[in-house]
């Protein structure tokens, strides 16, 4: 068994599925870093549970990606034997946990998108993706409610919690543009009804933000400049550190099972 990285095929549907799997895996891993460290027991359980859902979604997507690629790769190969530039997740999900406010705001921004995305994907022309979407909709609904309630609690809490929530929102908002950008490689998939058109998802995302941020007393950043690069494999330095920790065991002990 080789410790080396794998090469993956260049296929549009495969790449699109892999990108969504990477989103779920990387955010799930980030949340799992809170396990044993969350500010209270209930949140320790909540973040670990949400991480479990996301890693479960990632596994379903990787399994489907493996059948599309048909190159003998497994879900573990995609997670553990690719280098940072081969990951296609959006930059938002790899951002460090920071304080609890950063984790919650990151989670809220993603969940508000993911819930609308998976709802739209239940009518995908691709039956496998529609099935994964149907599994993900109720899960992401719970994720969204959890993150939205905490966003309100932090924003409308103490002066300190408000300041931290606003700082987090200001820092993370520029990473939201990637959720709605359409890579050139995905236009055909959208036209074919396989991928949801981000333009149809944005209204639900915007409506959620307007409502929740108003209730939280948080100011929506006005900046329109957005970070990008994740879908092309251009990542922040944080992904390399995350992968180093996530991949060290299978890369050090190839084929190890327990």
């Amino acid at each position: 068994m080789a410790t080396t990285s794998i090469a993956v095929v260049d296929d549009r549907l495969f790449a699109a599925v892999l990108a969504r799997a990477d989103d779920a895996l990387i955010l799930g891993h980030r949340l799992s870093e809170w396990c044993g460290h969350a500010p209270m027991l209930e949140e320790d359980l909540a973040l670990a549970n949400i991480a479990l859902d996301l890693i479960g979604q990632a596994r379903l997507l990787y399994e489907y990606a493996a059948t599309i690629e048909n190159a003998g790769h497994t879900e573990d190969d995609y997670a553990y034997r690719r280098d940072p530039h081969q990951f296609r997740n959006i930059l938002l999900v790899e951002q460090p946990n920071g304080d609890f406010a950063h984790t919650i705001i990151r989670q809220y921004l993603y969940s508000a998108f993911a819930h609308a995305f998976w709802q739209a994907m239940t009518s995908s022309a691709d039956a496998a993706l529609a099935a994964i979407a149907a599994k993900s909709v109720p899960e992401s609904a719970y994720h969204l409610r959890h993150a939205a309630e905490w966003t309100i609690r932090l924003g409308d809490g103490t002066e300190e919690s408000h300041r931290r929530a606003q700082d987090a929102l200001d820092a993370l908002f520029p990473y939201t543009g990637e959720m709605f950008a359409i890579p050139e490689t995905e236009t055909d998939l959208i036209v074919g009804g396989i991928l949801a058109d981000p333009a149809t998802i944005r209204p639900a995302w915007t409506a959620s933000l307007d409502r929740i941020l108003a209730e939280a007393g948080l100011a929506k950043p006005q900046s329109t400049w957005m970070q990008s690069g994740g879908r092309r494999g251009r990542h922040s330095e944080h992904l390399g550190h995350l992968l180093a920790e996530m991949q060290i065991l299978p890369r050090s002990y190839p084929g190890a099972i327990w």
Binding site: L45, A46, L54, Q57, L60, A131, I132, K135, P138, E149
Partner: protein, 164 residues
Amino acid sequence: MVSTPQPTLRDRAWSAAAAVPDPELPMLTIAELGILRGVELVDRFVEVTITPTYSGCPAMAAIALDIERALHEAGIENTRIRLVLAPAWTTDWLTDEARAKLARNGIAPPGARGSNCLFDNTPVPCPRCESNATERIAEFGATACKSIWRCTACREPFDHFKCH
């Protein structure tokens, strides 16, 4: 052919698989939970079809092993497990008997079958004193399928099997 032993084998296999308890909710079987979707004879194999409750449910591997062991103990070899995602599992599939068992074991069952109980804010009655004076402590509990509640009447904390 006038008769074959196949229906008997299929029925025996169903009974064995249906009796497998859920590892995390051992008062319920995988049939009562709606995880067991079918048992068929395919190419000389007994094929058991199951579906996950949650995408990341860590119990699926244990459930698959438990099914294989149960079939083996029933004298059935050549088994295989098939995992399906569609139609997506829902708490609507819990039988009334399963709901009653949950309540008897101190777990408030999910909302009525067929209702749109996700986030509709209907009260969750206390499984011990049946009071509606209850409040949610945490959205996520000891397993993915449960949230943590408390009863302000009898003051007991309890698990709620979330609507899904």
